[in-house]
Amino acid sequence: MAKLISLCLKLVILCRIADAVFEDQVGKFDWRQQYVGKVRFAHYDMHAQSSKKVLLATEKNVFASLNTRTGELHWRHVDKTGPEGNIDALLLHGQDAVLIVGNGRLLRSWEIHVGGLNWEVVLDSGSFQSACFVGQQDSVRYVAVLKKAAISLHYLSNGHQKWLENLPESETVLYQAIYSGGDGEVYVLGIVPHSHLAIVAYSIEDGEITKQVSVEAPWLSNIQASCAVVGQGTLMCVDPATVSLYMLDLQAQAQMTQVPLQSLGLEVSPGFHPVLVSTQPNPARPPLSEFFLQVGPDHHLLLQLNNGQLVTLRDFQPALLVSFATTGEKTVTAVMTPRNKTACSLNLFSADSGRRLLDTTLIFTMDPNGGRPEKLYVQAFLKKDDSVGYRVIVQTEDHTLTFIQQPGRVMWTREEALSDVVTMEMVDLPLTGTQAELEGEFGKKTDGLLSMVLKRLSSQLILLQAWVAHLWKLFYDARKPHSQVKNEVSIENLSRDEFNLQKMMVMVTASGKLFGIDSKTGTILWRHYLDNVPSNAVFKLMVQRTTAHFPHPPQCTLLIKDKDTGLATLHVFNPIFGKKSHITPPALPQPILQSLMLPLNDQDYAKVLLLIDNQYKVSAFPSTKNVLQQLQEMASSIFFYLIDSSQGRLSGYRLRTDLSTELIWEVVVPTEVQRIVSVKGKRPNEHVHSQGRVMGDRSVLYKYLNPNLLAVVTESTDLHQERSFVGILLIDGVTGRIIHEAVQRKARGPVHLVHSENWVVYEYWSTKSRRNEFSVLELYEGMELYNSTVFSSLDRPHPPQVLQQSYIFPSSISTLEATLTEKGITSRHLLVGLPSGAILSLPKMFLDPRRPEIVSEQSREENLIPYAPEMPIRTEWFINYNQTVSRVQGIYTAPSGLESTCLVVAYGLDIYQTRVYPSKQFDVLKDDYDYMLISSVLFALFFATMISKRLAEVKLLNRAWR
C-alpha cells in the first residue's frame, strides 16, 4: 500500500514538473539546420530527366540525398563515426547507389528514391583499393571490388557474390586500380614499385584469368594518382620526372609508348605533379578518348587520343577547375576560369571538339570571407532545343556548397563547415539608439530634478515616436500581399529585444570558419574563413568585451592552438559583425599551456586574458600599463592550474607581481593505474540564488559553494570489466586540497560530467550490469555557514558533507549539460543528448541524493521524490520533439533576460536552437494566454454591473411607489 501511495505521489510530481512543448509551439521559438559534412563524393541522379536529387557521401560518414532546387535534405543516413563508417566509394547506377564502407568491409546498395537499403553484404577482410561497375552488352549487372589481395564480383540486384578470386603474387604486387570497358573482362592493375606494372584480366563469367601481363614501368609509383584509362582500353600514365605521357593498350600491347610532353609543345609547372582526368559515362562501355591533363595549378589541357595519336583539342589557361558531365549521348566539359579577385566564370565546352558552347557562361562570385573553389560537380541536361544546359555545385575550401543555375543565379548555399562546430558563445545584441538613450537615463544620477524630468519626457517622446513608426510600418505592410512581407534579418537592423531572447551565436568550426548566426531565425549573418588554421587545431573562444560598453565595440578572442606543437595564435574580432579587430594580438612564440580570463577590465572595459607558456611565463592581453598595474596589485590572489594528462599531474600555480609564477601544489595521479580524462570547473557566469536548502523541519542545510572547485575524472588504464573503474576527484583549485574522492568500481567511460552550484552529476557505463548509470554528488557545509559573507578557499577549516546517490539511466548518452538562468532562481534541468538525436530535459530533482527510500512527513514537506533506481525517459521531455539532432557534440546554454527562460543550442551534425523554461514561464504571460477570454469576461462583468444597477434602481423606485 505504501508503495502504491509513493507511486501515486511520484506520478503527481511527474505530472506537475513535466514541461513539454505544445504542438502549436512547433517552430515558434526553435529551429534546426541539418548538415552532412564535407562532401567527398557527389553524383546527380540521372535516372530521370526531371530528377531533383543529388547524392552526397561525406567525410562525416554520412550518405544523403539533397533536393537540388532547395538544397534541403530528402533523406540522410548517418553511419558510425571513425574508420568503421568511412565511405570509401560511391557508385551510382539508375536507382541504386552502391557504397563501400569501412575500408572495404561492407558493400551496401541503397534505393535512392525511398532512401532504404536494398541489400548489405559483408566483404572479406583486406584493405580496399578500388571498385567499379561491370557491364556487359550495354547493361550494368555487377559491381567489382578490388581489395589488397582479392577481387570479388557481386550482382547489383542482390549483392550476392558471383565469384571471388585471389590475386596472383599479391605479396609483391600492389594492386591499385580496376577497369572494365564492358567487353566481358575486368582488368586489375597493380605495380611493383620501381619495377613493373602488372595487368591481370579476369573473365566476368567465371573469374578465370584470361590474360596476365607485366609491363616495364620503373618510374611508376601510384596508378591512382598518375594514370587513367581512356578510349578503347588504353592506359595513359604521366611521369613527372621525364615529363612525358606513357600509353599502353591493355588488350594488345606489352610495351609502353612514351610521348614526351614537349613533342606536344607543353611544359609542366615546376614542382607540380601532372594529373589525368578521364570520363566513362556508361560503365558498360569504354571511356571516352578525350581526357584532361593538368600541367599546372591553373593550366589544363583537353587532349584526345585518336588512333594512337594525341591531339590537343584545347588549352585552358588559366583554368582553376575542370569537370566532365554527360547527358544522353553528349559529354561536355565545364571549365572554371578566374575573372578577377572575387569572381570566376564557368563555361561549357564540347568534349569531342573542344568548341565553346554558346550562352553557357555562368558567373560564380567568390565570398571574400570564404575559401577558394575546390571541386565542381556539374549536372548537364538537354534543353528543349537539344542544346546542353547545366547547373553546378561549387565546393570551396571552407566546405561550402554553392548551387548555381544559369545565368549565375545562386539557388542555394550550404555551409557544411557547420556540421563540425567545435565551440560557441552567445553574445548579446547591441542596443538600438532609442534603447541606449533610455538606458543612459539611469546611468547618471548627478543631474537635478528638473533636468531628469525633462530627460524622462524626451525619452518617452522618442519611445512614442518609435511606436508610431512601428504602427505605421505594420499598417503599411498589412496592405502588401503576404508573400512580399519578409522580415529579413540583417546586421543593420539587429537589435536587442526587450527580454534579450535574441542573441548572436558565434560558432567556431573545425575547418576554421567562423559564423555569426541570429539565434531567433538561424540566419547566418556573417562568416569568416581563417585559412591558416592547422588541421589538428583546438579552439577556445572567449568574450573579452560584451556589447554593454558602448561606444567600445564588443570583442571576442579566439585562441587557435596547434595540438602537436602547442603553438597558438589569437584572432580578435567583433562578434556582431564578424570583422577582424584592428587590435593586433600579441605574437606567441612559445607553446601555450593555459589561458584564463580574469575578472579585471582594462580602461576600455575589455577583460584581461592571461596566457601561460611552457616556460611558465605569463603574458596578458591586452597588456597596457593600466592592466599591468592592476595585475601587480591583484597578483597575490590570482591562481591557476595546469593539467598534464600524459604524466597524470595536476599542478597549481600562483602569479607573482613580476608576472612569473610559483608552483604551490601538485597532485599526481599515477598513470600506470589511471589517467585523467577531463577536468571541469564551474561556469564563471553562473549565479546561485539560494545559499541553502530548507529542510522539512525548517532548518537550513547550507550549500558548499566553492567557486574554485574542480572536478577531475579519471579512468583506469586496466579495461578488464572486473577491474576497470572510474574515479572522481574534487580538488580545490587554489589550495590543491582534495575535498572528496569517489570511485565507481566496475565502471568505465566515456564519462560525461556536469559541475555546477554545489553538485556534480556524472554518467558512466557500468560493466557489471551493462547499463548506463548516473551518479550525483552534492556538497553541503552543514547546518551553519562558516563565513557567510565571503568564500575563501584558504580559510575553510571544515570539510563539506558529501551526499551521493546513483541511478540507472535506460539509454546511453552523447552529451550532458545543465540549464543556466540569469539569477539562478529557476530550478535546474539537465539537458541530455541521446544517441537517437533527442535532447532530454531531465529535472535536477530526479538527481538529488536526498531522495528518500522511505517517504516520511519531512521528505514530503521538502518535495523530495521517493528514490527509484531507474530514471524515467519520457518523450514529452524531449525539448526538440521530432527534430532530432544527429551526433550531438555539445549543448550550449545561455541565460536570457527573463529569469524563467534559458536559451539552448545543441550542435553536432545538426544545429538546433530552442528555449527551455525549467520552472515554466512564471515571469511572463504564456504565449497561449487567452486575452479574448479575459477581456470578454471583464466586459461581461462590466455590462452586468451596469444592467443590474439600472434594474435595482427601477425596483427601488417601484417599491417607493407602492
Binding site: 505544445f22 543516413h77 548517418v78 532504404g116 536494398n118 550490469s769 538525436g837 528514490y867 514529452e876 521530432n882
Partner: protein
C-alpha cells in the same frame, strides 16, 4: 549510498546469474543453423525486422536506424523493414530501432562466443532476468511518439461542470425561483417560511460577515451593537 550497498550485496547473485546467462544452452533457438556461414572471425550479425502496423515501409524506413548499445554499432533498415547489424563481437547488447516518428521497445540480444543468439526483454534493474523474445528479432512499433502536451482548452461545459460553479449556481436558482413557485401572499405559507428561516438562522443576534468585515477595518472599538446592525442589513426579512 544505501543503494550502492544493496547493489553490492546483490552482486554475487547477479554474477552467478550472469554466468548462467552467458553459457545458456537452448534447443529451441533456430539461428545457430545458419550461423556457420555468417561468422567472420569472431564477429556476428544481429538480424531482425521492424514493423509499424498500418504504415507503408517506404514512408518511414529512411528515417530509421538500428542502434546497438548506443551508437557502438549501427545498422540501417532495408526497404522491406528488415535489418542486419554486421560485425558485432560476442556479448550482450541492447538493440534499439530509432526513428523520430515511431516508438519501438528495445531488445537485449546476447551473443555467445560460439555465435548463439537469443533475444530477451530489456530489464535494467534485474539485468539477468530472461523473458524471451523471438530471434531473428521481430520489433513491432507501439505507436507514434507523444512529444506534445495537450493545451488546456477552455469551454463552457468545463466552466459549468466545475464543482465550485455548481455550488454557486444551485443556491442562486433556489433563491430566484423559490419565491416564484411558492405563493408568498398566503399567510400560512409566510408563517411556515418564517419558522424555517428561524431554524436556518437559530441565533439572529449572531454577527454576519459584512459586519465582521466592517469591524475588522474600522477597528475593534467602533462596533459594539451587533443586534442593531444585523437588523439594518436585513430589512426585507424583518418587514415580512
Amino acid at each position: 549510498m544505501s543503494h550502492r550497498e544493496r547493489a553490492a550485496s546483490a552482486w554475487f547473485v547477479v554474477q552467478a546469474m550472469l554466468a548462467v546467462a552467458f553459457c545458456f544452452s537452448d534447443t529451441d533457438t533456430g539461428p545457430s543453423a545458419g550461423l556457420s556461414t555468417q561468422t567472420n572471425g569472431d564477429r556476428f550479425k544481429i538480424e531482425g525486422r521492424a514493423i509499424v502496423p498500418g504504415v507503408k515501409t517506404q514512408d518511414w524506413v529512411w528515417t530509421a536506424r538500428v542502434l546497438v548499445e548506443g551508437e557502438e554499432y549501427v545498422g540501417f533498415l532495408r526497404t522491406d523493414g528488415g535489418f542486419a547489424v554486421n560485425d558485432v563481437p560476442p556479448g550482450s547488447y541492447v538493440v534499439e530501432i530509432v526513428t523520430p516518428a515511431y516508438k519501438f521497445e528495445p531488445v537485449r540480444v546476447d551473443i555467445t562466443s560460439k555465435g548463439k543468439m537469443r533475444a530477451r526483454l530489456v530489464n535494467y534493474i534485474k539485468t539477468s532476468e530472461v523473458i524471451r523474445q523471438p530471434y531473428p528479432l521481430q520489433v513491432r512499433s507501439t505507436g507514434p511518439h507523444t512529444y506534445f502536451m495537450k493545451r488546456e482548452t477552455w469551454g463552457w461545459t468545463d466552466f459549468l461542470m466545475n464543482p465550485m460553479v455548481m455550488m454557486m449556481v444551485l443556491p442562486l436558482l433556489i433563491i430566484v425561483l423559490l419565491p416564484k413557485v411558492v405563493n408568498t401572499n398566503d399567510p400560512e405559507m409566510r408563517k411556515e417560511m418564517e419558522q424555517s428561516m428561524n431554524m436556518l438562522n437559530p441565533n439572529p443576534e449572531l454577527p454576519d460577515v459584512s459586519e465582521f468585515m466592517t469591524k475588522l477595518f474600522s477597528g475593534s472599538k467602533g462596533s459594539s451593537k451587533p443586534g442593531g446592525s444585523s437588523k439594518g442589513t436585513r430589512p426585507a426579512v424583518k418587514r415580512r
